[in-house]
Amino acid sequence: MKDMGLLSQLVYYFSHNGMYVLSQFNQTFLVSIYGVLLGAIVGIPLGIWISQYRRLSPVIIGIANVIQTIPSLAMLSILMLGLGLGQTTVIVTVFLYSLLPIIKNTYTGMLSVDADVLDAGKGMGMTRFQVMMTIRIPLSLSVIIAGIRNALVIGIGITVIGSFIGSGGLGDIIVRGTNATNGGAIILAGALPTALMAIITDLVLSFIEKRLTPKTSSER
């Protein structure tokens, strides 16, 4: 092993532990997705809610901002005290960090809907619910998705660090590499798939974002 180049070491690692890396990849991905999904389930309604009751927005966004300022390793450790080791703690952490981008984007998206369009909708006899479903949400959907995309990229980073409190995943491989002598190739074997995951998710979601942007022209 020692006399092999870094690249061949990496190839060697993948060829021998391919399935293992894949399963860790899966695990990391799922933990991040779960966390962000929870964040979306809570954050989107919260964002909509504070866009209706604007007085609450500084409070809610302020809280989410404070959460964001806590270093992720610290957050993981604090939550570990309460929730113990394992994936649950990591999912909760990802959830907490995804709140800010999701709430903020939902709120901004809601407020960016043209007031005249809303006035026309209400004035023509739409109920509040209809205004929400046919005007507000469709017109702000792309902004909301952009928030989720942001949250997911942050989430993947946190999940990798989460291996310190025993959630497994690609972080485990990286940690192992740091502990081994000459573990450069192992670190890369964990880090490259992580980066790849972040890039691919970002691309996929930006594609979805574009698709969900309402058509405003018959040309496309």
């Binding site: 006035d119 006899g125 469709p138 309402p214």
Partner: protein
């Protein structure tokens, strides 16, 4: 009454009174224009009709039903609504936009589509525009859609909040024609908020002039031009517009001289000469005993008569040009001026002589209408020339030392 508004008052929590004791009765097919300065409460009043705002006190009834007891959503679906910034849904096609209220009312897809085709035709736009999006249309086209969207569910009352304020003058005019057509031919009732006096006078059957939440004057455009209630209204209309409008609102009787010099046919030439001399005129109008206009005699005719006892009736010019007292000046001025006569007798409907219009009085009116102002003082051009001249000499003076 289709729509009746009684003692409406709107007071905001900060104590500002936006509308105070507003009363209005609107019949079917009327075109009501609310006009006033900004902050006069015109938009507030309009928005109370479809309950976008709730009045502090007072009642609004549509077809004798108190709207505060109706479901606001149902109420709004029955009233057309057009706003200044158009408010078309940018993410929906023109067809979906037009079908919006019918869809809310649960019309079938076929009926909706049929209505959309009917509406785009009404808007005088091509049918294939239905598949386009609002962003692909010009501002004028968008507002045409905005207007017909408000009619798509056969709404009887249409509220318009400065709908053409953001459009260029030519586009605005064509849209005014469109709504005028909708009101006159389809019998729709419009409540129209505007700050453009020309627009209000052109479109409305009744103009409501508002200031600081109060109605200042409610009347037809003609009556408002004829009798502005106070200085505020005069200022709002503008001196120029009032003068321009004169030929179209003043009747002949308002500018005629009330006591024309007339003589009965049985009088003699002597009497006629004496009367002419007394009143210093060269023409006499001839009327019978009942005052019915018969003709005229002038100094030339009298000169030709040698016998001073000839009755006036014997040489009266029977072909006399006259105008009716109640006809508008705008309608008659051309005819009067073309006749080339100095004076025109004015008669009532039974041909009784009631007055006389002098050519001078007419020309004054026409001249004012064309000029736009009664006394425009035009400065003679000489002072400006003098300045230039002075400047020129000064420059020359400056060059001498070199």
């Amino acid at each position: 009454m289709l729509l009746s508004m009684e003692h409406l008052r709107k007071e905001y929590p900060n104590g500002k009174i936006a509308v105070d004791d507003f009363n209005l009765q609107v019949g079917r097919g009327e075109f009501i224009a609310f006009i006033g300065t900004s902050g006069s409460g015109k938009t507030t009043t309009m928005r109370m009709i479809n309950r976008m705002l709730k009045q502090t006190s007072g009642t609004i009834k549509i077809n004798d039903k108190d709207i505060s007891k109706m479901d606001p959503v149902k109420l709004r679906r029955s009233i057309g609504y057009v706003i200044q910034n158009i408010g078309l849904m940018p993410h929906m096609t023109i067809q979906e936009n037009i079908e919006m209220v019918p869809k809310l009312l649960g019309w079938s897809k076929e009926k909706r589509a049929e209505q959309a085709h009917k509406m785009i035709e009404l808007a005088q736009l091509p049918d294939d525009m239905l598949k386009r999006y609002p962003g692909e249309l010009s501002g004028g086209q968008q507002q045409r859609i905005g207007v017909v969207r408000a009619l798509a569910a056969d709404q009887e009352i249409i509220l318009m909040d400065e709908p053409f304020g953001a459009l260029d003058p030519i586009t605005r005019e064509s849209l005014q024609d469109l709504v005028k057509h909708l009101q006159e031919d389809l019998g729709k009732t419009f409540i129209f908020v505007t700050h453009d006096m020309d627009e209000a006078l052109h479109l409305a059957t009744k103009v409501v002039i508002m200031s600081q939440g109060k109605q200042v004057q409610v009347d037809t455009p003609e009556n408002i031009l004829r009798h502005p209630a106070n200085d505020f209204v005069t200022n709002l209309i503008g001196e120029e517009r009032l003068i321009r409008a004169q030929p179209n609102i003043l009747s002949v009787s308002q500018i005629m001289l009330k006591n024309p010099v007339s003589i009965t046919p049985d009088k003699t030439v002597d009497d006629a000469i004496e009367l002419m001399h007394d009143r210093r005129v060269d023409t006499l109008l001839v009327t019978d005993d009942a005052g019915v206009l018969q003709g005229y005699v002038d100094l030339e005719d009298i000169n030709r008569i040698t016998d001073p006892h000839t009755a006036v009736g014997d040489f009266t010019n029977r072909q006399v040009f006259f105008v009716k007292a109640d006809s508008l000046i705008g309608d008659t001025v051309d005819r009067i001026l073309k006749q080339g006569v100095k004076n025109v007798p004015v008669v009532d409907k039974d041909k009784h002589l009631v007055g006389i219009v002098t050519r001078t009085a007419l020309v004054d009116i026409v001249y004012d209408a064309l000029r736009g102002a009664p006394e425009a003082n035009e400065e003679p051009a000489s002072p400006i020339n003098a300045d230039i001249h002075a400047a020129a000499t000064h420059d020359e003076g400056g060059e001498i030392p070199q």
